[in-house]
Symmetry: C3
Subunit: 142 residues, 3 copies
């Protein structure tokens, strides 16, 4: 993991090395850059990806695992969960046939080439909380 | 709808509550934050989504409706149309099988969890206009 | 190609005219705006798209060509390659049936409506280099 920060410290590019764990590498970058609230964009490729669909009936993630893929788009955010910075990342990926699959980035995504962009919100971080009717910790919507 | 603004007022996170209409909630946020020109990113989930393909032959949107989906990626912008701030949003979404579908966000998308990021351009807003050869109001390209 | 810059010169919207080459138009904008390091977001539509999957075995791109499509999401960055600003862009696109395909934006993508957002990093640009075990020029990850 290597960071390429802006001069004002409000943004950075991040590069992960081949074989690095995606979420571990990004968490390391978030810690190094001191981000509690921010937005995240990613492109590149993954040696393998695991994306999840949160089933609202079972309240569990249904996961799909891929082989080597392009990261068509990775969008995410950093906010506070249980008192610590937490990355919420969604991925769209595609293989040789170009058909796209996507969902919530689960543990087990491994970098081939990862080029990320992080930008601080520059204000108080949203705090993930349990809210009525949801089994995920979310940013209160009212 | 709840906004989490930056200290300088140039950006904000936005959270929608379960069941809120996606475009209505985002428009409310744009109004509250006073955005005439800006960029928009979204992740989360929708109870239902309606995405459109603009058919250049018929000059109409062909729509696809989904059930509960993850928002793999939502990218959009705010600019002026008919004198008012207007959100142009495109979505990529996926269900339990992870296969992604996408297009122009139409009316009828309903939030499950919506985590949006808005950033002001900080300059004059592009103005959507009719241009020759296009049946959509677009930002003039020359 | 038309740019809609922010007052501080750190960001801009960019609009391409129908028929313009996507990467040529964006490169023109990057040059006009003087961007060596930055992030890029795109939505809109393309008259045709060519997306690539980088096959790590053959070290070549396998390409997929489409007809008229929506740009569900375009994410990219600008950094230095061979001493010049270089756009690295990934696309997710979908046609009338809404099924999404994606990958690396190759030469040959032609604009229908292109609404892009560019933001400068505001710091030293990452430099694309050959690194061991990779046949692409990438940002060193350590």
């Amino acid at each position: 993991m290597k960071t390429y920060p802006s001069d004002d410290g409000n943004a950075a590019f991040v590069s992960l090395e081949r074989g690095e764990d995606l979420l571990e590498g990004l968490n390391e970058a978030v810690e190094k850059l001191g981000i509690e609230a921010g937005t995240l964009q990613i492109i590149g490729g993954l040696e393998e990806a695991v994306v999840g669909y949160f089933d609202p009936e079972s309240a569990e993630y249904v996961t799909t695992r891929t082989g080597h893929v392009e990261i068509c788009a990775g969008l995410g955010n950093v906010s506070l969960k249980d008192g610590k910075p937490f990355i919420h990342l969604h991925l769209t990926v595609s293989g040789k046939e170009a058909a796209a699959v996507g969902g919530h980035a689960m543990d087990g995504c491994r970098a081939y080439v990862v080029e990320a962009y992080l930008r601080k919100l520059g204000g108080p971080a949203p705090v993930r909380q349990e809210v009525e009717g949801m089994s995920l910790k979310v940013w209160p919507g009212s």
